[in-house]
Symmetry: C2
Subunit: 443 residues, 2 copies
């Protein structure tokens, strides 16, 4: 075991790939998001690559995009994460299983029970990506005409978290005696009735599942707003970050870890893992060509909308096959516009290529050889930009296989990524402490 | 394949065994309800025994019993069925997976999505035991001070069913084109927006999961009230029945199938499967001795409450080790009282033994050799008492292994139970038609 700081790697699966052209890439599985056998292959490869976790995104509606874009995207639909991950638990032994579950349109008793069940079934490998749902189409699937306002969503999320963790804490770790001789199955004095009554929820408890193997499944969050950062610093153990550059990443990292220190939390007890879209080639040029081909599979009608948003102007009036014309200032996101213009100039992209880049994946990307990708990851780790990454694969299975077969060995050779799992649970592998029950702190 | 009528067999798992003494039986797994490895063993044995389905009961609270009884019962807690069954799907190939899910404290969009996901993940083996929740303690876990009245629960259940099946029907079977050449993933004209607005639910849709493999997962119900029988005749494809005698079973069978005929449904399209508690021995006397030993493991304090309810009088004042004294008439359930008195006389049970029998399991039981058990099952099948059974095992793993290793071969030898699965899906194995989408009836 190396004494160097260790990378943590999650595999971020947003219906298979975040890239809307992924299903059309040569050799890709077009039906991967609805084919359990494919998911099984992916996760078993990730486990061979010693990934910390398989991280499943979620939406509670068809994605909120125009039908012309939607009908071209495999991200239109996906299994419920809390139904998929138990099945993947049964075909793996070590890798963590992080499911996204919304606090906006769920009941805390159900969520507490499902994650406790997953944690038992997987032997302590569950993680909960606690999100609020901001897709306005989701509201309409749950009896609401209007989407819940941002502030109310966060207030509800915070109380939801308190109820769920309170239910998990309601059984002492040793409450289940199972003494066949005396006939006592559990000790009623080691079970706490939560009796929560708050502005959003009234939940009596106790939960009808024993305390999770990990005490609590690992708490993951992704909020980037002021409220989201604060709730993360207070409660999260891993954060899915979305900064696109190392400078932004370092600022975010310092902000969150600083908040933790001020709250009296050990900054090591939260892992910051930016999403990173990784394309591997034998040469940097080959990797870039792969990405360019992938981007070219994004339909122009879908792509141009992303470019228009980034530029703050209607890009559909530009000649697709010419360089980007001069863009006037608007009152929309200046940094986004400048970054987009700089990207077009740096890589010499036409309007079409630029649009397809943004329509595919516009965030942090590492496109190169195993060595250049490892260089970038190491730099983020060493310079305080992150504790690791949520890797996003450009297409499946090829992009995932390339990462595990080529990048992982390079990271291992440098001594910054495990060769074997350190522990039995996700919490142990991430180096996170096991929470004590608030009601039974002695154990 | 035999031309004789075929038995359908479900394995009814109410945290492992319905019998509250099961966990104390010699050789039983005391932690079976929280040990995934044990569940895996059980279901793989059932699949070897060609069972139609693994049927998981559920409660949304600790069971509503006095703590003195509760603390002695392994039924206190169990995995969420919709988290357990996907994991079991991944370790089996043929057996059906029926999960109980309440319409009282759930949202139809979630339930539609979870069962659709389970159906895809299992290759078409999902079933939904649609129940209303009548445990008053459950209400308090979901923000309600009072339990929902019976009539309202059934009205909500019926609308819930309409919404869930409407969401399943919202994608035509051929909506997902996945044409990599043209870049079209799905045909928007083959997706229906449900836009349901009813007294209980407002759900827009469409679901973000493709139509289930089976069209709909198999619909299972257990209601025995007038409202429950009618909703079953209208919508169910399997019924968990609870009649304790063949005469009662025949009356129930005729009632449900008669209602179906009057509704224009083919009576073969609903399978009536009473719960049957089966104890196997080399001789009838040995099987009875096993049961008596099992019953003796039920604590008297828990048992006496069941006897008091059955007799309509406080049985704790009787001498436990004497025969039942004469019981005066009360205005409580006369048939239950008479059946209990007759049972005590027929088997010569003391008050303690009688109480422990009822506290263990008081319903339909088949206690004998493989031949006598097969005789009973065949009689129910031939005389129109049932289409099969939901078998309840007295303890695990022994009681389950005995059934699969000894009773199943006897049923197969008689030509009334399959030697190999007939189809790929639960629906095909049960001989049920695949529903057409109401919105895309041509396919």
């Amino acid at each position: 075991m190396s004494s160097r700081r260790q990378l943590r790697l999650g595999a971020f699966m947003r219906p298979v790939s975040i890239h809307t052209g992924a299903w059309r890439y040569p050799g890709a599985f077009p039906d991967a998001n609805f084919n359990f056998a494919h998911y099984k292959r992916f996760i078993q490869t990730l486990e061979r690559g010693r990934f910390d976790a398989f991280f499943m995104a979620d939406h509670l509606a068809l994605l909120n995009m125009p039908v012309e874009a939607l009908k071209r995207s495999h991200t239109v639909s996906s299994f419920d994460p809390l139904t998929l991950l138990p099945a993947l638990a049964a075909v793996t032994e070590h890798i963590g299983l992080i499911a996204t579950a919304s606090t906006t349109y769920n009941e805390p008793y159900h969520i507490a029970r499902k994650f406790a069940s997953l944690d038992h079934i997987s032997g302590g490998r569950a993680g909960w990506n606690l999100v609020t749902t901001s897709n306005p189409d989701a509201a309409k699937n749950f009896g609401h005409d209007e989407h819940m306002p941002h502030g109310e969503r966060y207030q509800r999320a915070r109380e939801f978290f308190d109820v769920v963790t309170g239910l998990w804490d309601g059984w002492a770790d040793d409450a289940l005696i199972r003494d066949a001789g005396s006939g006592i199955y559990f000790d009623p004095d080691r079970v706490h009735v939560l009796d929560h009554k708050g502005p959003e929820f009234s939940v009596r408890g106790p939960l009808n599942v024993a305390r999770p193997v990990q005490g609590w499944p690992v708490i993951v969050q992704a909020g980037a707003s002021e409220a989201g950062r604060q709730i993360a610093a207070e409660t999260a153990e891993a954060v899915f970050a979305s900064q696109a550059t190392l400078a932004e990443g370092k600022a975010f990292y310092a902000d969150i870890k600083g908040r933790m220190a001020r709250l009296g939390r050990d900054p090591d007890h939260l892992k910051i893992l930016p999403g990173a879209f990784v394309v591997v080639g034998d040469t940097v040029a080959e990797a870039r060509a792969k990405r360019a081909h992938l981007d070219s599979l994004v339909h122009y009608d879908s792509a141009i909308a992303s470019l228009s948003i980034a530029l703050g102007t209607d890009a559909s009036r530009f000649d697709p096959d010419s360089p980007l014309p001069p863009i006037p200032d608007t009152n929309q996101s200046k940094s986004g516009r400048e970054r987009t213009i700089a990207l077009a100039e740096r890589e010499g992209l036409t309007v079409r290529q630029l649009a397809q880049r943004l329509g595919g994946y516009g965030g942090l990307a590492m496109v190169g050889t195993p060595a250049t990708i490892a260089d970038e990851m190491e730099q983020w780790l060493v310079e305080g930009g992150s504790d690791g990454f949520n890797v996003m694969f450009p297409w499946l299975p090829g992009g995932l296989d390339d990462f595990v077969d080529q990048v992982v060995p390079e990271l291992q050779r440098r001594g910054i990524f495990r060769r074997e799992y350190e522990g039995r649970t996700l919490r142990e592998n991430l180096g996170l402490p096991r929470p004590k029950s608030r009601f039974f702190p002695a154990g």
